[in-house]
Symmetry: C2
DNA sequence: TAGATTGTTAATCGATTAACAATC
DNA sequence: TAGATTGTTAATCGATTAACAATC
C-alpha cells in the first residue's frame, strides 16, 4: 500500500508487478517457438496498452528492433535477471494451515529464486514432519534455527490474530523482508520490507465488478 | 491490470482493494471492544495516510463524528454490505492442486459471501471425493453440472498452460466472472469480468525491494 | 518505398496528499 | 474555550496514454 514513497529509483511499482506477467506469457505455450515478438502482439494477448509494454521494457533496458519487435529470449533473460531468478533467496515460512501447506508444496518458487528452507507451526504435532524436503519445527525453535542458518525472507501464513506476534519474532531475529499472507496488515519498523498479499482484495474487486451494473442502493442514495 | 477504464462509478480501484484491509483490522483483536475509532488512529496502525482513510470512508458513505471518530460497528456493517458479505455468490473451482485445495478448505470465504459449490479436476482419481462438503467432479462434467446448478464465478487454479482452455469452457457455459490464480493472464470477451491474482507479483515486489539498496548493474548501467 | 514498430517526449488522467473550514 | 477530528476542495504526484520522430 505504501509502495510509492519507497520508490527512489523512478521505476513504477505497477511496472514491477507486470514483469512476472510478461515472463509467464512469453514462456507459455501461447508463445512458444516465437523468436521475436512485437509490443502490439503482446498487447493484444495481455490486454495492456502497447506503449505501456514498450515503456516497461525500456525501463528494464530491454531493447527491440524496429519493425521486427523484441527478441523473446532477450526479454525472458532480462526479466529473470531483474527478478533475481538466478540468485536464490532463502525464506522461513510460519503457519502450516491450508495456504502455508500450498506454498511449501509450490515447486515453482525454486525456479523463481525463492527457497523456503524451514517451516514452523504452533501445533507440536506437526513438528518433525518433512514436506517437499522442507523440515517442520515448532515455532518456539524459530530463533535457534535462524541463528544456525539465517534467511532474508519470512513468510507469514498464520491466522490474522497471530500475524503481528510472528512478525515481531521475525524482526527480532533479523529478517529483512516479510511476506504477509494474513488478512491483517502488520506493523514493522521502517527498515523492514513488507509485502502484503491478501486474496481478500481480489475477492473485493470481483464482488465490486459483479455488482457494478446492478446499482447498490445505500442510505437512499446510489453508491 | 485493466481496471481503470472499467471504472465508471468514480470509486477508485485502490479504495476498493483497501476495504477488506480496514474490515480485517477493525474486526481483529488489535481493535476489539473499541466503540469508536478515528482516522488518525487507523492510519497509525495501517500506515496509510489518514486523509486517505477519511476519503475512502466518505466514498462508501461511512460518516463519523467530529472529534470522536467513526463508530466501529458502522464501518464494519457498511463495508460488509458494500462487499456483499451477506449475499452469497456461488462459484465453481477448477484445478485441485495445492492452491486449489487450500482455497476449497479456506473457510473464511463463507463469511465473505463466496460459496464454492463444486470443484473439478482433470485427474479422474479425484472425481467422487468430497472435501469440506464440496463435491469433486471430473472436468468433463463441468457443463452438465453448470446447467443443473449455475454459478456466477469461476475460480481457476490449474497450471498456466491449461488456464485459457478452462476459461473458455467457463465462458461458454455462461459464467460471469473469472478469478484466475494462474500466472498467465487469460483472454476473455469484454462482457466477462476477470480478476487475476498471481502471487508472482508479490514475490517480484519483495525481490525488487530487497535489491533496491544493492544497486543492480545491468549492461554497464545502473538500473 | 510504404508500412510497421521502436522509443521518447508531451499530455492526460487518476490517486494521493495537503490545506483548511466546519464542528464538536 | 482549545484542541482534535471530520470532510471537502485544491495541489501535487505518479502512471498511463497519445503523439510523433526515427528507423528498418
Amino acid at each position: 500500500m505504501n509502495d510509492r514513497k519507497n520508490n527512489t529509483t523512478g521505476l513504477p511499482v505497477p511496472t514491477i508487478r507486470r514483469l512476472p506477467l510478461y515472463l509467464s506469457f512469453l514462456k507459455s505455450n501461447k508463445n512458444k517457438k516465437r523468436a521475436f515478438i512485437s509490443a502490439p502482439e503482446i498487447a493484444r494477448e495481455l490486454h495492456i496498452d502497447s506503449t505501456q509494454i514498450t515503456k516497461d521494457f525500456s525501463f528494464i533496458n530491454v531493447s527491440g528492433k524496429t519493425k521486427v519487435g523484441y527478441k523473446t529470449s532477450d526479454i525472458i533473460k532480462i526479466i529473470e535477471k531483474f527478478l533475481g531468478y538466478h540468485e536464490p533467496k532463502k525464506a522461513f515460512l510460519v503457519g502450516l494451515g491450508n495456504l502455508g501447506m500450498a506454498l511449501i508444496k509450490y515447486n515453482a518458487f525454486s525456479k523463481e529464486g525463492l527457497k523456503i528452507t524451514i517451516a514452523f507451526d504452533i501445533d507440536t504435532e506437526k513438528a518433525g514432519i518433512e514436506i517437499n524436503n522442507i523440515k517442520v519445527f515448532n515455532i518456539n525453535e524459530f530463533e535457534e534455527n535462524f541463528s544456525k542458518a539465517p534467511v532474508e525472507i519470512g513468510i507469514i501464513t498464520v491466522p490474522s490474530d497471530h500475524a503481528q506476534k510472528v512478525a515481531d519474532l521475525m524482526i527480532k531475529c533479523g529478517i529483512k523482508a516479510i511476506w504477509n499472507f494474513s488478512a491483517t496488515p502488520i506493523s514493522v519498523p521502517d527498515n523492514i520490507i513488507v509485502e502484503n498479499t491478501s486474496i481478500d482484495s481480489g475477492l473485493a474487486m470481483i464482488t465490486w465488478k459483479l455488482n457494478k451494473n446492478k446499482p447498490l442502493i445505500y442510505k437512499n442514495r446510489i453508491l
